[in-house]
Amino acid sequence: MTSRLLVSIVDDDESVRESLPDLLREFGFAAEAFSSAEEFLASDHIDLTSCLILDMAMPGMSGPDLQRELRLRRQDVPIVFITGHGDETVRPRAMAEGAVECLLKPFSDASLRDAIDLALRVGRMPRSTIECGKVR
């Protein structure tokens, strides 16, 4: 099972932390859930993470805060944002910040799978590459 890629989840909502890892494992990934940005940063899973599914609004450090922090740490983990406060303005802003995808809750398993696949394809690549990949 070591060949499985690790998808990490950071969300303060427990139901997400419960349900999402099961689905990801059904997709064939390894999954690890964290209840806050701080917890994730403190873990040794950052380097192992192939894709980060990140909630935007959280008490303390928010999703974008974590995104900025990882960039500062040169950890170019591909990030898929998920948010319950969805409106038209959220997604473009997140994408502009370098997110692979921004999913509005609730989202379908297919759209999640697509987003992860995209993230994995983009991989830990310079933003330009991502841009290219996206263009593609």
Binding site: D13, S15, V16, E18, S19, L20, D22, L23, E26, A57, M58, P59, S62, I82, T83, G84, H85, G86, D87, L104, K105, P106, F107, S108, D109, L112
Partner: protein, 932 residues
């Protein structure tokens, strides 16, 4: 014996005769016959009378009879007719011839012709004696040096001693010891000067009693003017003296009465006078009380108090004592010897009196001139005694004086009381009382008149009333009226009550009420005028009229009527306005049935309950009900009544009833507007909350979708992961419920609904609101702190409305901190119990706060500091809190931001049974109305 004596008698050189003991003459001498020219046969028996001068005969016979009775030697005087018809004065000396002790066998008489001897002039000493004995007075003969020579028979009879004893009169007890010194001085002076002696003095009688005598002494001189003898004539003036003394006493007493001495003083003086006049006696006067049944004290200056006290208060009857008996019977009661007395035993009067040393009591009723018994006059002695005739006279005299004194005193008292009463009435009267005579001059002017008119009494009495108090313009009319009355008796004023104008001393005029009555006395008419200053009354009448008019107008304008309802009699009185409100004719008598006919059918039972309750017990009440008018329109009435007691002590309600239809309608309209605003506000909030709500709902939806997808995948695997699928399905249901809860809460918060009262626990309500907002707050990174008072009491209110207010305040606070990034965004929600029996909730932020000049504007409907807000929030919040009788206010914090608080009184908590006496607001009233 006759034979023996006749020759002897005939031989005597005088007119001699003898008489039998019965006075019949049995022998006359020859010379007697020769003198008269009558023979012996004609002179014996009673025949001698024809020789006596007719003028002298009656006196002579009288004298002769008394001599016969006295049985002693004596003399008489009369003119006897000589045979030639001439009368000569004779002294007729008679002497009894006594045989054995006290046995008179014959009288011998000698007629001595004194005519030719010049009457007294040549009378012999013995003749003088004889003559002096005939004088009806005591005669003393004194020597020129003042020694007693002889006395006439009256003296000896009076003093009961011998001449020898009398000679020592200067030292003896003949003259009263009190008079003796002055008698001696006067006598010595007369002896020395020869001036006549003229003194009144008391002389001792044989029985020891002193009587008053007027003593006159004249000297008899010889041819050379030398005094040869003093003749002293003493006439008994005791009766006169006593009469004079009594008269004097009576005068004194009457003077006392006239001078206004008290009855008691007069009676005491009277008792003292009696006691001095009649020596050795004690005197008392008792009075009969006004009811005529009991004895009262009058006077008893010399009797012991214990004796008097045992008499006072005794019933006026025959048994309780001599005075009571005398007063009862109106008869004198004499108890000459109390030792032998058997009357009044029932009251043991005699032993009581004897214990005080009294042995005799004479009690005499005192009667008024009308014949009514007013008291009794009693004389007591310490020895048994019967009143003499003199004493009886004295008693009669003094009883009479006492009756005058008592009657005078009683009428004086009555008069004084009447005068005092009249004076008191005049002085205390609030009305001016003025008396005037037939010429219109003031006789009396009471203090009220002095005050009212400004004249001192002394200044106006005697003046013509019209000049003083009648305005100049009316004086002529007054005089004409007065003259007409005096002339014809015709009057427009007397006995009537009229209002007119009067004038004060300072010339100011004022209205008075006047009544004149004629004083019912003899003589020219006089009048009493009763005047009352009615300035105040006029003013208050006008004020009353005015305020009555005001009230009517005010009732009309305010659509408020007043009523009274006497529960016991069922009498209901309505003001005009109430009739107008109920739209009944004012002629219709008001009854509860009549009122019931207008009351809205839905409110009838409320009214009946109310009537039943307040009829049973006095209780102020207030309630609202509706009327259904004949045209099917509805009126809202607000009724307030106060329980009171009328003059008969009956329960009576006085109240006001107001037609509040317009207010109700506008209130309802206002409330609709307010509700709409609140709803708009909520919708505005909803817009702002969309994200939060979406998040709240999307969260569980997200979980549902994820779980359902996982579940399907687990079941599609080969072999299917059934356990995993079951778990994900379970989580799906849980998230579904979670989403459903959110929807329920949202619906509760944002649905359009009516006010509903319930017990609200502010901590719980706040917690629910914060739970809704938590995600939003989290997103905005607001640190919310809850500082709740765990013992916070519940309040009555609309839970949802209050939650909307809290939501509003928290969101405002959160918004106020939107632009803050240099300090923690702290938001504190605090609940506490206020000191003034209310609960308070405060939302404190550390945001931009308010500028002080905005503080009063923040509750304006469209004021906002927010770019995107509608600003309706605080205004609506405030109206909600005010509907809960609370208040909502804001104040800046010391450092950053502001605090917005509201407080709601706990008082409403006791109002859950919709007590009608509570002054409710529109919201709660709505609640009550719906429960009718």
């Amino acid at each position: 014996m006759e034979n023996d004596l006749s020759p002897v008698l005939d031989a005597l050189p005088g007119l001699v005769w003898t008489a039998l003991p019965d006075g019949n003459v049995d022998h006359v001498s020859r010379r007697w016959c020769e003198y008269t020219g009558l023979d012996a046969g004609q002179l014996v028996g009673a025949g001698w009378r024809r020789a006596v001068h007719p003028e002298d005969l009656p006196g002579l016979l009288e004298r002769w009879r008394s001599i016969l009775i006295a049985g002693a030697e004596s003399a008489m005087e009369a003119r006897l007719r000589r045979r030639d018809g001439e009368y000569h004065w004779f002294t007729i000396r008679v002497r009894p011839l006594v045989d054995g002790p006290q046995k008179i066998v014959k009288w011998i008489g000698l007629n001595i012709d004194i005519e030719d001897r010049g009457r007294l002039g040549r009378a012999s000493e013995s003749l003088y004696r004889s003559i002096s004995d005939t004088i009806p007075a005591m005669v003393f003969f004194m020597t020129p040096t003042g020694e007693l020579e002889s006395v006439n028979q009256h003296v000896l009879d009076y003093v009961g001693t011998t001449l020898e004893d009398l000679k020592g009169w200067r030292t003896g007890s003949l003259v009263h010891p009190d008079d003796l010194p002055s008698v001696r001085v006067a006598w010595d002076r007369s002896i020395a000067t020869g001036e006549p002696y003229d003194v009144e003095q008391r002389m001792r009688r044989a029985d020891g009693v002193y009587r008053w005598f007027h003593v006159r002494g004249m000297p008899r001189r010889d041819a050379r003017g030398q005094i040869v003898r003093w003749y002293m004539i003493e006439s008994d003036i005791d009766d006169r003296r006593r009469a004079e003394s009594l008269l004097l006493c009576e005068k004194q007493l009457l003077e006392m009465a006239a001078a206004g001495s008290s009855m008691s003083d007069i009676l005491v003086a009277l008792c003292r006078l009696v006691e001095t006049t009649s020596e050795g006696c004690y005197c008392s006067v008792v009075l009969v009380d006004p009811t005529g049944t009991r004895l009262e004290h009058g006077a008893a200056p010399s009797l012991p108090a214990t004796f008097i006290n045992s008499i006072i208060g005794r019933p006026v009857n025959v048994d309780s004592g001599p005075c009571a008996m005398a007063a009862h019977l109106n008869e004198q009661v004499i108890a000459a010897d109390l030792m032998l007395e058997t009357r009044w035993a029932a009251h043991a009067w005699c032993p009581m009196a004897m214990a005080h040393g009294l042995q005799a009591c004479w009690s005499t009723p005192i009667t008024s001139t009308m014949g009514k018994v007013v008291g009794a006059f009693a004389i007591y002695y310490d020895k048994p005694r019967t009143p003499t005739r003199e004493q009886q006279d004295l008693i009669a005299q003094f009883s009479h004086v006492a009756s005058i004194a008592i009657e005078r005193a009683l009428s004086d008292t009555a008069l004084k009381q009447s005068e005092a009463r009249k004076a008191a009435i005049l002085d205390a009267a609030l009305d001016c009382i003025i008396t005037m005579d037939h010429e219109g001059r003031v006789i009396e002017f009471n203090p009220a008149a002095e005050r009212t008119f400004g004249y001192p009494r002394g200044e106006i009495v005697g003046r013509e009333l019209a000049d003083a108090i009648i305005p100049p313009a009316l004086r002529k009319k007054h005089r004409q009226g007065m003259a007409r009355y005096l002339r014809t008796g015709e009057t427009r004023l007397i006995g009537k009550r009229v209002e007119m104008t009067a004038v004060r001393a300072d010339g100011s005029e004022f209205p008075v009420e006047l009544a004149i009555s004629r004083i019912p006395l003899e003589g020219p008419p006089s009048f009493t005028c009763y005047l009352r200053d009615i300035t105040e009354r006029r003013r208050s009448e006008e004020a009353l009229q005015r305020s009555g008019a005001f009230l009517t107008e005010a009732q009309h304008l305010s659509k408020t009527g007043s009523f009274s309802w006497c529960v016991a009699t069922g009498e209901i009185i309505w003001s005009e306005q109430v009739y107008r409100i109920f739209e009944f004719d004012q002629a219709i008598p008001v009854t509860l049935e009549l009122i019931g006919s207008r009351v809205h059918p839905d409110d009838i039972s409320l009214m009946k309950d109310m009537i039943a309750r307040v009829s049973a017990e006095a209780e102020d009440f207030e309630y609202e009900h509706r009327l259904l008018m004949p045209d099917q329109s509805v009126k809202y009435l607000h009724l307030v009544a106060h329980a009171t007691r009328n003059r008969r002590g009956q329960l009576e309600y006085i109240g006001a009833v107001q037609d509040v239809t317009k207010r109700r309608v506008s209130e309802e309209a206002l409330e609709d507007v307010r509700s709409e605003l609140a709803r708009v506000s909520r919708i505005a909030s909803l817009g702002a909350l969309t994200a939060s709500i979406a998040h709240e709902v999307n969260q569980p939806l997200s979980g549902i979708l994820t779980n359902a997808s996982t579940c399907l995948r687990m079941l599609a695997a080969d072999p299917p992961n059934v356990d995993g699928a079951r778990e994900t399905a379970r989580r799906t249901i849980r998230d579904g419920n979670r989403a459903s809860d959110v929807i329920v809460r949202l619906r509760a918060l944002f649905g359009k609904r009516r006010f509903s009262m319930e017990r609200v626990h502010l901590n719980e309500a706040t917690q629910e609101v914060i739970a809704l907002l938590l995600n939003e707050l989290k997103r905005d990174r607001i640190n919310i702190e809850m500082d709740f008072d765990d013992d916070l009491p519940t309040v009555m209110g609309d839970r949802v409305q209050l939650q909307q207010v809290i939501l509003n305040l928290v969101r405002n606070a959160s918004d106020a901190m939107g632009g803050i990034d240099n300090r923690p965004k702290r938001l504190i929600v605090k609940t506490e119990r206020d000191t003034d029996e209310s609960v308070r909730l405060t939302v404190k932020d550390e945001g931009v706060g308010f500028a002080p000049h905005d503080l009063h504007r923040i509750f304006d409907a469209f004021f906002t500091t927010k770019e995107a807000g509608m600003g309706i929030g605080l205004w609506v919040s405030r109206s909600i809190i005010e509907n809960h009788h609370g208040r909502l206010w804001a104040q800046p914090n010391d450092t950053h931001g502001a605090s917005v608080s509201f407080s709601i009184p706990l008082g409403l908590a006791s109002a859950e049974n919709h007590d009608l006496s509570v002054n409710w607001g529109p919201a709660t009233r709505d609640q009550v109305m719906r429960s009718l």
